[in-house]
């Protein structure tokens, strides 16, 4: 920003206290506000210019003062001027806005991930450490937070106005947004996509804590099982480990370390294994066949909730070895004891 930071702070504080302007609570907020002030400036200049022309001409050429109108066809110079200058201004706004957009929707790689599930009419936040919140979100300052969001039913939209970020929460696929909070406090969460009867009640609070306070909070609010642990349970109980056991002769590919890797599919495509891929592979396996494997995986569409899918995705993300996969495989079969040492299990 080319304005002195002191002046900026003063301006923003004055505006915020007047209840006419939201607080700036994230690192991106000042950037958004800068664009907003530029746009306001253009608008004020534009409206002033047009009003001056109208009022000026009205006074100068009113009938009493100017009884005979003069014929004027036009002026190519003027047409060019008021085509080029607005176009130039709008293009500046376009570039600035595009840069801001890419900033807001491209999270940094070290972002801490929190899952958000929206449903009529509440927000569920799932922290990887196993903290579950409803209509609330606790985050630390000074750390980029990525929200991976999905809807269980209709379109919703997760909005944090004081952070200047918002993204649609869509049924059927993940959408993401990120922010870095700067100031401890509580801020609004709104659902901004009309979603039925209690759309206006689908609101909550983001609580921004200092890193120390946040650490304390995570310790006191955990449900005891991290998402990955819940995912491990689900992985076993749904029978995923039967095919994805990690054996050489297994019917499904090993999932250890698969997250973040590039996978070769039977149709020749190479895909990056990310959250969206994993979720979709569970629900529509036939479109995600790993090369060398038969299309026998059943679909789990309708059998696992979005939270369950999140648990599984978290689990697979953290999976480095198949030791516990195989452990849970044998312990789920009632007449066999767990192996003494990690190793191959009799098929």
């Amino acid at each position: 920003m080319h304005i002195s930071p002191v002046l900026w702070q003063f301006l923003v504080k004055w505006l915020t206290n007047s209840a006419l302007f939201p607080r700036e609570a994230s690192t991106i907020a000042p950037w958004a506000d800068a664009l907003y002030f530029f746009l306001l400036l253009i608008t004020i200049v534009g409206v002033t210019l047009v009003s001056t022309l109208i009022f000026g001409f009205s006074i100068r050429y009113r009938k009493e003062k100017h009884p005979v109108a003069e014929h004027i066809e036009g002026s190519t110079l003027l047409e060019a001027t008021w085509t080029i200058i607005p176009l130039a201004l709008f293009l500046i706004v376009f570039v600035w806005g595009a840069l801001l957009y890419f900033r807001i929707y491209n999270p940094p790689t070290n972002a801490m991930n929190v899952y958000i599930v929206g449903k009529q009419w509440m927000w569920k936040a799932e922290h990887p450490g196993g903290q579950h919140e409803i209509n609330a979100l606790h985050v630390p300052t000074g750390r980029p937070i990525q929200l991976t969001m999905i809807s269980q039913d209709v379109f919703h939209s997760f909005s944090l106005p004081d952070f200047r970020v918002k993204r649609e929460v869509i049924p059927g696929r993940y959408s993401t947004v990120w922010f870095e909070a700067t100031t401890p406090g509580t801020y609004h969460i709104f659902c901004t996509q009309y979603c039925g009867t209690n759309h206006a009640a689908m609101i909550g609070e983001v609580t921004v804590l200092t890193p120390e306070d946040y650490k304390k909070w995570t310790q006191t609010s955990t449900s005891g099982m991290s998402l990955a642990q819940s995912g491990e349970r689900l992985f076993a109980s749904m029978g995923c480990n039967a095919c994805h056991s990690g054996n050489a002769a297994a019917r499904g590919p090993s999932l250890a370390g698969v997250y973040g890797s590039k996978l070769q599919l039977t149709n020749g495509q190479q895909v990056l294994v990310n959250d969206a891929y994993l979720r979709d592979a569970i629900l529509n396996p036939s479109q995600h066949l790993t090369a060398g494997y038969a299309p026998i995986m059943p679909t789990y569409q309708g059998q696992i909730s979005e939270e369950g899918l999140i648990d599984l995705v978290e689990y697979i993300k953290t999976l480095q070895t198949n030791y516990r996969v195989q452990q849970t495989l044998t312990t789920s079969e009632s007449n066999q004891a767990a192996p003494v040492a990690p190793g191959v299990v009799k098929p």
Binding site: L283, P285, S286, Q287, I296, M297, P298, T299, Q301
Partner: protein, 252 residues
């Protein structure tokens, strides 16, 4: 200064100057203007119909791309002999319609009525064949909804001779997507059939009037403009048939 002409033509004088058809609408200056306006209007209307069907075609192309295996398997369920017959029937109907336009222009009343009748009959044959196609889908439980059955796609029947499945078996989730194909199939062919039914209705209105001689005394606009509509409906089918029935068809 004279920017408004002082016209002296009275209605009688007007008739002396050209043959005034009884159907000449008096907000038009000349019958030519009326005819041109009518044709232009019909072309514009057909443009709106293109936009209307366009939405469905767009959805179809999108989903065909996303769920290709399901769409290929589902489209192989369509009856090619019946579809081809229908294509031939519709083209023939269009041919008779074109002949009807000529008949009206050269004022051959009996021929006009005959060709209009033939166009209608072939149109009805098309609809009849469509009925049988839809009935087949009903019997095989391929109508989208509660009774939709994907078992044929998951476990395709085997060829008697080679013992191999006639179709690549689909996994259950991909097999579910065949429902999307059939939804679009019924939406697109159904919308097309609806336009055919409207066309047949219009033909049934035109034929008695043709018999009365309404269109063989110089006033051909309804026949011409209806022919445009009928040819359009024909063209929509000519797009539907390959897109729904023919592409990715493999030898049985």
């Amino acid at each position: 200064m004279d920017n408004v002409t002082v016209a002296t033509e009275t209605h009688a004088a007007h008739e002396e100057h050209h043959v005034s058809l009884p159907q000449h609408r008096h907000h038009f200056e000349t019958p030519e203007q009326q005819r041109e306006a009518g044709t232009f209007g019909m072309w514009l209307f057909l443009l709106t119909e293109i936009m209307f069907f366009g939405g469905l075609f767009f959805a179809y192309l999108l989903y065909r791309n996303w769920y290709n295996p399901a769409f290929v398997a589902a489209s192989n369920q369509l009856n090619i002999p019946l579809g081809t017959t229908n294509t031939a029937v519709l083209i023939t109907s269009g041919f008779f319609m074109a002949l009807a336009v000529w008949a009206a222009e050269v004022r051959k009343k009996t021929f006009l009525v005959a060709t209009l009748l033939l166009a209608t009959i072939f149109g009805l044959v098309f609809l009849g064949v469509k009925y049988f196609e839809y009935k087949e889908k009903w019997e095989k439980h391929h109508i989208p909804g509660a009774s939709f059955d994907i078992s044929e796609f998951v476990n395709p029947p085997r060829d008697a001779k080679t013992g191999k499945p006639v179709e690549e078996p689909l996994s259950p989730d991909m097999a579910q997507k065949t429902q999307v194909f059939f939804s679009l199939y019924f939406a697109m062919t159904g919308m097309h059939a609806l336009h055919m039914i409207i066309g047949v209705g219009l033909l049934l209105w035109l034929i008695p009037r043709a018999q009365r001689g309404d269109f063989t005394a110089g006033y051909v606009a309804p026949i011409e403009n209806f022919a445009l509509y009928w040819h359009f409906v024909d063209i929509v089918w000519i797009f539907l048939f390959p897109l729904l029935y023919l592409i990715n068809r493999h030898p049985v």
